[in-house]
């Protein structure tokens, strides 16, 4: 019994995931989600998911896939809620591509904002910090 406890705690890892792929364009976006879910199910911890390049579209609250397809942003939101995840969308990549929170929308005088709840816009420093403190960093690219 003691051995198993020791083994479990030793095996627990801190992960960071980088998602470069756009949702619905590339399967890589789904693989990232499945990997995240699986690592959390196994009791590992997910320090941060960093959405970069076209991956920033994952943070759009306006994604409206057909009913028989998964809503990728909502799936991440649910996972974040269940596990208190830090979902960071690269601010520079996002603002360029029209994924804005209320703050950025105001700054650029845009008619609305669409960053989904549970995601936050932040800079690459958040990625570097995450790399520094995680045991494993995985890139999901397209």
């Amino acid at each position: 019994m003691g051995f198993f406890l020791w083994q479990n705690s030793w095996l627990q890892m801190i992960f960071t995931l980088i998602v470069q792929a756009a949702p619905y364009s590339h399967q890589s976006a789904d693989t990232a989600y499945r990997f995240a879910k699986s690592l959390l199910d196994q009791g590992h911890s997910l320090h941060r998911v960093f959405f970069y390049a076209d991956g920033v579209h994952t943070g759009s609250a306006l994604a409206s896939p057909p009913q028989d397809e998964p809503n990728i942003p909502e799936r991440w939101q649910q996972l974040a809620q269940d596990h208190q995840l830090d979902l960071v969308v690269c601010i520079a990549a996002a603002v360029r591509r029209g994924v804005l929170d209320a703050n950025e929308s105001g700054r650029y005088s845009k008619p609305g904002h669409n960053l989904a709840d549970g995601f936050e816009l932040s800079g690459l420093g958040q990625l570097v910090e995450a790399i520094a403190v995680s045991d494993r960093t995985l890139t999901f690219g397209a």
Binding site: I18, A92, A93, L124, G125, L127, I131, T139, G141
Partner: protein, 121 residues
Amino acid sequence: MSAKKKVLIINRRAPYGRSNARDSLDVALTCGVFELPVSLLFADDGVYQLLGEHDAQGIGQKNLSATMAALPMYDIDQLYVCEQSLKTQGLETSDLANAPTAVDQDAIQQLIKEHDVVLTF
């Protein structure tokens, strides 16, 4: 934060046609700002990032070569280029900016071994 992680960034895409080169450079520079040691490996079409004197104004983009030239100011001076990719592209190290070190297959395996984290773009 304990011992600093060494980061290897592998660049496999040509500049300008897609955002990978720019995205990668931004990550490298941020690693530099936060004093995380970073090395860059250019392979496949990524070697074109180091070729030629860029002037991207006409295509509405920022020059990557200018940023690339600033890498040493961020203490990023470990630049490597895949020897096999160079051969495939008909290029020599002397054709490239930033004086990268040419590495063969074994040396690339060694680079991956020596770094704690590998990112690809």
